[in-house]
């Protein structure tokens, strides 16, 4: 048998790097989370340091330190010159807590819930077609624990929303809209960004009461409390206050298509004629051949939610079915896009 096998051996048509890339992603990318947790980035905020400095100051042995630092350097989060590691633009922008675009809270959320992306957990999520994060609602957690989780979660979501919130308001002319309803708006990041970029716009963050309480703190922190308010409600069963712009960010990917259609219909019925809906998501391409980012995001949603990423075409059809017109899909910041339509 073995002899037959060897006789059949032949050179492959392509090399095996993509096979290794799968493995290297599993081992390599967590090095960045470790670097973040070990506070390597904040340590380098004061200037470039040698490997020995980093090891001594952060109490990390040479072998692991070098492994982590080399991954971070190979991926562009650090540079290495004359034996000294230094922050690059991307790590200064997103990995220093002093930065207005700090992404670290979201990495914290991933670290806190790393079991969600374990192979066993994802396998269970795939097998059961149900999310595994937070045990699907752990009734045994105390109220204090729940609130702490909510805080960490909201900080995490704020982390990934700040930068993009400053870009979509400039993609089109939104100047005639007066009041934006930020549905499931969480920390209010997008309302805050919109208020900063669109001087005539007021915004209302619609979310659960406990979330609104947190949003209020962010709103005050950014000094936009005269233009951004909160509205405590359950988006599914409560009435939505009047507005001429409905905004959903990272909302549709939480839900299956039927629930997204429900939200779209509710939006259409709530808006006045001339009102606009904006859906802010990472989109599959229309052929669903990629790209990798939304495809991987769908796997993340598999672990955390009932939803998945959608293509621009799918969301456009959903909007059209509800009655929206003049539907457009526009690339926005980073991997994000907006899908928007008007109520005739």
């Amino acid at each position: 048998m073995a002899q037959d096998f060897f006789l059949k051996m032949q050179a492959p048509q392509v090399d095996d790097r993509p096979m290794w890339d799968v493995i290297f992603a599993v081992y390599g990318y967590p090095a960045l989370l470790l670097a973040h947790k070990l506070k390597i980035f904040s340590f380098l905020a004061d200037g470039a340091r040698t490997l020995a400095d980093i090891c001594n100051s952060l109490n990390i042995k040479k072998r692991p330190a070098e492994a982590i630092l080399t991954v971070a350097t190979s991926l562009g989060f650090l540079s290495l010159q004359d034996g000294r590691y230094a922050l690059t633009t991307i790590s200064k922008d997103y990995l220093l807590e002093s930065s207005p675009n700090y992404f670290g809270f979201f990495w914290d959320l991933m670290i806190d819930n790393y079991q969600v992306c374990s192979f066993q957990n994802l396998e269970r999520a795939v097998a059961t077609d149900s999310p595994q994060a937070y045990g699907g609602g752990d009734i045994f957690k105390s109220h204090e624990e729940q609130i702490e989780l909510l805080h960490r979660f909201t900080h995490g979501m704020h982390s990934i929303s700040q930068a993009s919130s400053l870009f979509w308001p400039k993609l089109m002319d939104f100047s005639r809209h007066r009041l934006m309803l930020d549905i499931g708006g969480g920390s209010g990041a997008h309302s805050i960004g919109a208020a900063l970029k669109l001087p005539n716009l007021q915004a209302l963050v619609l979310d659960f009461p406990q979330v609104c309480e947190l949003a209020q703190k962010y709103i005050t922190q950014y000094g936009v409390q005269d233009r951004v308010k909160t509205h405590e409600a359950n988006i599914w069963s409560d009435h939505w206050p009047s507005a001429d712009l409905h905004f959903f960010s990272n909302m549709y990917h939480d839900w299956p298509i039927e629930k997204c259609s429900f939200l779209t219909d509710k939006s259409f019925m709530s808006l006045e004629s001339g009102g606009r809906i904006i859906i802010h998501e990472m989109l599959y391409n229309d052929e669903k051949t990629g790209s990798f980012a939304p495809a991987a995001y769908s796997m993340m949603m598999m672990g955390w939610t009932e939803g998945r990423q959608y293509s621009g075409l799918e969301l456009s059809e959903m909007l059209q079915k509800s009655g929206f017109e003049e539907i457009q899909v526009q690339p926005s910041f980073g991997y994000y896009s907006i899908v928007t339509g008007l109520k005739p």
Partner: protein
């Protein structure tokens, strides 16, 4: 923002939807004529909660047709206007509240041509009125049960009607 409601027990994240289906012994043409084209004659038959019904736009039922209904649901009287928002002959009928946040959809799927059709009915309440909120659980249950009753009633009406109209051998 993920399913916070479920993850942290902050509140329900289920829309108020009742959905039910049944298989009816008839053609999709017959069924659509009964529930779609003859909506204003037959609606109170399968939905006895409808006490008054009037077509407010002229002509045959089509996309955009507007109607007015007075209903009594579990003792509560309500009046609403609705608009036909999907009218696909032999396939789908949807009517949506004009000022009330509800939507009814009837979907037809032929199982055996001319013989049997799967009817799926869904009723969606886009928001709960403040007066309903204390009894949200009851409303959800009523909506679910209402959907089951609707398809059963239509099935009984159509199949009984057929039997009555079948000449004896």
């Amino acid at each position: 923002m993920f399913n916070l409601g479920n993850m942290l027990n902050l509140g329900s994240t289920d829309p108020v939807i009742g959905k039910a289906d049944t298989i009816i012994r008839c053609s999709s043409r017959e069924l659509f004529k009964y529930i779609g084209e003859d909506l204003f004659q037959n609606y109170p038959k399968w939905s006895p909660e409808v006490k008054e019904l009037a077509q407010l736009t002229s002509g045959p039922v089509k996309l955009g047709t507007v109607g007015r209904q007075v209903r009594v649901d579990q003792g509560r009287r309500s009046e609403s206007k609705f608009k036909v928002s999907a009218f696909e002959p032999d396939v789908r009928l949807t009517f949506t509240g004009v000022s009330e946040p509800f939507r009814c959809t009837y979907e037809l799927q032929e199982i055996t041509p001319e013989e049997s059709v799967k009817l799926t009915f869904s009723f969606e309440l886009l928001e709960l009125l403040a007066v309903m909120r204390p009894v949200e659980g009851l409303v959800r249950a009523a909506v679910k049960n209402g959907a089951v009753k609707t398809v059963q009633n239509i099935k009984q009406l159509i199949e009984t009607d057929q039997v009555a109209n079948t000449p004896s051998q």
